[in-house]
């Protein structure tokens, strides 16, 4: 491993990578701090800007945005009681009461320290586990990958929101759209209808941008423009060493919870934050103060949330399957840069993998730097009016979509996907399953068909060894648990809008 690190470090050590991480983390915090803009949206819009970067630089830039956005979500949660990201919702519980007491600066600083520590722990877990799992995955052929992707597709249920059926509709539409283009086995067209531009299938970036950026922009037209809530004063209150030390146990436990939950596909940051928070509340000697402005509560929530960040990259890098929506986007980024995440990446591009690891470790430090330097500025980010921001985002979407293949067809696809996404928003159908299915669909179908060709149509190939049986077993268990959870949900919660 040390040799690999040395090789990776030599590839990583360059001003452009330092700059990419520094700017990426800053941009991520900026976007995460704006309610209504998500990390996924930020990564989607930034993706075309990485085309001309070296693969390591481009990937690090995107991952840094992701990490920055995860921390940035706590800023409006603490200052204006509006989480910038779903995972920031738990931080509101104690962050906002602290801000009301005039201790917003203290809450923001504690959130920063907890985030940086959890992010670092999460990165270390990624480094130690990804290579091990990838080594194991080298034995995988099409049947093993097929069963693995079956299991990965169950994450759709995790991101489906209140209605599993609507999540499945979304996933079905994504799978269907992924079949457009030339059939890989027979070389015949599917849903091309004479349009040459469709022969290569729909480009990933226009679909992604259309689904994640445009619906929010269009939906905002249905809302009244109103003055933004005045954020709480940040003040100059600092976190003392004693305060940090008294929360350290919760931070480390939250980091571990984040790592464990992040490495399981489909869980995401919000459940990790809430589990970390409830554990901290259960074991803290200040448990009665939780929900009323307890610094340890902020630390636990942010540690759980940020502990997920590095761990979600474990299934992505080692197996080539995304752990959540944003890593599905990053998977697309890898492919655009000519890299295929998974065991092959560890075999053929070990230098790139370890260069990314080096960058990830640095991103935790840059998060701390940005947080300390820019906390006053980021506190004002929530003031940026959406009526100015959204038209600017739309123009960036158009430039970014065009840049993919330098043709206007992709811009048209982006706009049409925006309309699809908007219709889904209005029908309370979540878009996250669509994207995951769109990314995993071709892999699923390709491995299924290759496996059946290998076995001459005998389906027993999918239970022919312990790996396929293991993943099929996991898929079945996961489905049973998810269906049970969905059936137990109170009906009232099903009427709420999916995130």
């Amino acid at each position: 491993m040390l040799e690999n690190f040395a090789v990776g470090f030599s590839l990583f050590f360059g001003m452009e990578n330092f700059l990419a991480i520094f700017l990426g983390v800053g941009l991520g915090i900026f976007i995460g701090a704006i309610p209504g803009l998500t990390g996924t949206m930020a990564v989607a819009i930034a993706l075309p800007f990485t085309f001309t970067m070296a693969p390591v630089t481009g990937i690090l830039f995107l991952v840094s945005i992701y990490k920055g956005a995860m921390y940035g979500g706590c800023i409006p949660a603490i200052l204006i009681k509006t989480p910038g990201t779903p995972a920031g919702a738990c931080t509101v519980l104690d962050g906002y009461p602290l801000a009301r007491k005039g201790q917003a600066g203290k809450a923001l600083n504690m959130a920063l320290y907890a985030s940086a520590v959890a992010d670092f722990v999460s990165n270390l877990s990624l480094i130690f586990l990804a290579a091990f799992i990838a080594g194991f995955a080298l034995r995988f052929g099409p049947p093993e990958f097929f069963t693995l992707i079956c299991f990965s597709l169950t994450i759709i249920a995790g991101v489906a929101g209140p209605s599993l059926l609507k999540g499945l509709v979304s996933a079905g539409l994504g799978l269907l759209l992924a079949t457009v283009g030339i059939d890989l086995i027979f070389g015949t067209n599917r849903f091309v209808f004479g349009e040459v531009q469709l022969m290569g299938g729909l480009a990933f970036i226009p679909v992604l941008i259309g689904l994640f950026a445009l619906p929010e922009i269009l939906d905002y037209y249905a809302k009244k423009l109103k003055p933004k809530e005045i954020p709480a004063e940040i003040g100059r209150s600092r976190v003392s060493w004693i305060e940090f030390r008294s929360s350290l146990k919760s931070i480390l436990r939250g980091s571990a919870i984040g790592v464990a939950m992040g490495s399981i596909p489909g869980i995401g940051g919000a459940p990790a934050a809430f589990m970390s928070y409830s554990e901290a509340q259960r074991t803290s000697k200040n448990s009665a103060n939780f929900g009323k402005g307890e610094l340890e509560g902020v630390a636990a929530a942010e540690a759980g949330n940020n502990g997920v960040a590095g761990a979600t990259l474990i299934p992505l890098l080692s197996l080539g399957v995304p752990g959540d929506v944003i890593t599905a986007v990053i998977l697309g980024a890898f492919m655009i840069h000519g890299l295929t995440p998974g065991p092959i990446l560890f075999q053929q591009n070990i230098d790139i993998v370890y260069a990314i690891f080096c960058g990830l470790l640095l991103s935790s430090a840059f998060m701390l730097v940005w947080g300390k330097l820019g906390i006053q500025i980021f506190g004002r980010v929530a003031d940026v009016p959406n009526s100015i921001l959204f038209p600017a985002v739309l123009v960036m979407c158009v430039f970014g979509s065009y840049a993919v293949n330098t043709n206007m067809f992709d811009v048209l696809v982006m706009m049409l996907m925006g309309l699809v996404g908007f219709a889904m928003l209005k029908a309370d159908i979540p878009v996250a399953p669509f994207l995951i299915a769109f990314v995993l669909g071709p892999m699923f179908e390709d491995n299924l068909r290759r496996s059946l060709v290998m076995s001459q149509g005998d389906p027993r190939i999918f239970v022919h060894n312990e790996i396929t049986i293991f993943f099929l077993g996991l898929t079945v268990v996961s489905l049973i648990l998810l269906v049970r959870r969905n059936l137990k949900k109170p009906k009232a919660s099903r009427s709420t809008r999916p995130t």
Binding site: G172, A222, K223, F399, L419, A427
Partner: protein, 165 residues
């Protein structure tokens, strides 16, 4: 509209779309070879599986909405919405403007079209602070043009600006 009635419409729309795809789009849009080797799945097999699944799910959504007890909207919107008619008109206008922007790009290029589009989109939101969005409308497209054309070497279609930058 209650969530139940909305779900009935969603269910039927899914059934209609999936049915149309299954019965019209797949036969018309996916040519299938006459002979296959053992174990080879036809190109239309997977799309047929997906659309059949969508038909079943659409029916389930509609049935559950019909037979489930009526649920009121959670009313969790943070921002105050416009009255329904105004909201619909504004969204339709935004969509028309968006496709107008696309048409304009092909006519006069991406940068100038964006310079025109940003103020229009902002004004449609109800924004009146010209001193904020006019400078943004000029600076942002030029910066994006410079980045993509000169840093990323991606030719952005803009016949007018190419003469200057």
């Amino acid at each position: 509209m209650t969530p139940n009635s909305r779900d009935v419409i969603v269910g039927f729309t899914v059934v209609l779309f999936a049915g149309f795809t299954l019965l019209v789009l797949i036969p018309q849009g996916i040519p299938t070879p006459g002979r296959t080797a053992p174990g080879q799945m036809l190109p239309d097999f997977w799309p047929r599986v997906i659309t059949s699944g969508l038909v079943v799910i659409g029916v389930l959504i509609a049935l559950l909405a019909v037979f489930a007890p009526t649920v009121e909207d959670a009313g969790e919107e943070i921002d105050e919405p416009h009255p329904p008619m105004v909201a619909t008109l504004k969204v339709v206008a935004a969509i028309v403007l968006m496709f107008g922007y696309l048409w304009l790009i092909q006519l006069i290029g991406m940068v100038v079209a964006s310079m025109i589009a940003i103020p229009l989109f902002s004004v449609l939101y109800g924004e009146r602070r010209l001193w904020i969005f006019i400078p943004l409308a000029i600076v942002l497209p030029v910066l994006l043009y410079v980045f993509f054309r000169h840093v990323a070497s991606i030719p952005i279609p803009d016949p007018l600006l190419r003469q200057i930058l």
